[in-house]
Symmetry: C2
Subunit: 189 residues, 2 copies
C-alpha cells in the first residue's frame, strides 16, 4: 500500500477517534496526513468510503485477532474466553469504536449508523457461526444461535461501554469473569 494512502488512513483514524466522523473535516485529515486534499480523493471516492475502509480493516483486524487465539481443539468456553480477553486488550484501539458508538447514539450521523450496522452484522454473523459449531459438537445447550449471538453482543457492549457511563470502568479481568459467570455458568448454584 502506498505511503500516502497509509498516512491518510492513519490521520483519518486519529481524527475520527478524537472528534468523531462528522466533526472531522477533509481539510483536517489532509493537513494531519501532510497531503493535499485532492490526494485523498485519488484513493477514496468520498469521506464515507474512507470511514468504510477504516472500519473494514478494523473488522479484519478483529477477526484476525480472534483467530489468532482461537483453537478448534479447545472447548467453546475456553475459546470464547480467549477471544474475549483478546478483544479487551484491544480497548485502546477501541477508541474509534467508542467515539463512533457515541456519535451514533447522540448525533445519529447516517454514515456512522450504516457503518455501525455493518459492523454489528458482521460480528453477529461471526459469533452465530461459532455458536452453531459449538451446538453441533454438543458443547453447549441447544439454543437459538441468532438470539444467543445477539445477547452475547449486547452483554459485551453493556459491560465494556455502557457500564462506565455511570460507574468506574471494569478491568478486563473483571469483565471476563463477569461474562463467564452470567452468560456461561449462570447464577444457579
Amino acid at each position: 500500500m502506498s505511503n500516502k494512502k497509509q498516512q491518510i488512513i492513519e490521520a483519518a483514524t486519529k481524527s475520527f477517534s478524537l472528534f468523531g466522523y462528522k466533526a472531522t473535516t477533509m481539510d483536517q485529515v489532509a493537513k494531519v496526513a501532510n497531503v493535499g486534499k485532492g490526494t485523498i480523493y485519488t484513493f477514496f471516492k468520498s469521506k464515507e468510503e474512507l470511514l468504510d475502509e477504516i472500519v473494514s480493516s478494523l473488522i479484519v483486524e478483529m477477526k484476525e485477532a480472534a483467530e489468532e487465539v482461537v483453537d478448534p481443539h479447545l472447548s467453546f468456553f475456553e475459546n470464547a474466553h480467549r477471544a474475549l480477553y483478546r478483544f479487551l486488550e484491544f480497548r485502546k484501539k477501541h477508541q474509534l469504536l467508542i467515539k463512533l458508538l457515541q456519535e451514533e447514539k447522540e448525533i445519529g450521523t447516517p454514515a456512522v449508523q450504516e457503518v455501525m450496522k455493518r459492523l454489528e452484522s458482521t460480528i453477529l454473523a461471526y459469533i452465530k457461526q461459532k455458536i452453531e459449531a459449538a451446538i453441533e459438537k454438543g458443547e453447549i445447550k441447544n439454543c437459538n444461535p441468532e438470539i444467543t449471538a445477539f445477547l452475547m453482543f449486547k452483554m459485551y457492549i453493556a459491560l465494556v461501554f455502557e457500564w462506565e457511563q455511570t460507574h468506574e470502568p471494569l478491568s478486563k479481568e473483571q469483565i471476563a469473569e463477569l461474562f463467564e459467570l452470567y452468560f456461561l455458568k449462570g447464577l444457579s448454584k
Copy 2:
C-alpha cells in the same frame, strides 16, 4: 383523588403514549381531559411535574405488580420468573415507556431523559435489593449485586425492546425462557 385530576392524568398519559412528551401540548391535554387549561395548573406545577407524577405512579404500579406475584417463600428464580412474566403482560401499558424510550433516544428531550434516568435507577435499586436478599439466603452465587442488576436490566431491554427493531418480536413465553436459559442457568451443559 378528585375526578378532574384523574381525567387530566388519563388524558396526559394517553397523549404522551401516542405522541410523546414534547409533541403533547397542554392545550391538547386540557381538551382531551375536558377541562380548562388553567385547571391543570391547580393540580400540577408544570408540564414536567405532570410527567413526573405519571411516571411515579407507573413505578408504584410496577412495584405493586411485582409484589403481587412475588412470594418470599419461593426461590429467587421462581420469583424472578414470575415478576418477569408479570411485566411482560404489562406490555400494553408499556406503550408509554416505549414512546418515552424512543423520544429519549431520538430527540433527547431533557425532561424525558431525567424521568427515564429516575425510572432506571429505581428499577436497578429494586432488583439490586432482591439480589442482595437472594445472596444472603444463599440462593444464588455470590455476585456483585449492582452489576448483576445492571446486566439483568440491560438484558431485559435487549430482549423486549431492541430485538424487535431488527426481528420479529419475541413472545412473552420465549422471552421468559431465554432469560432463564442465559442468565440463570447458563449455557454450560
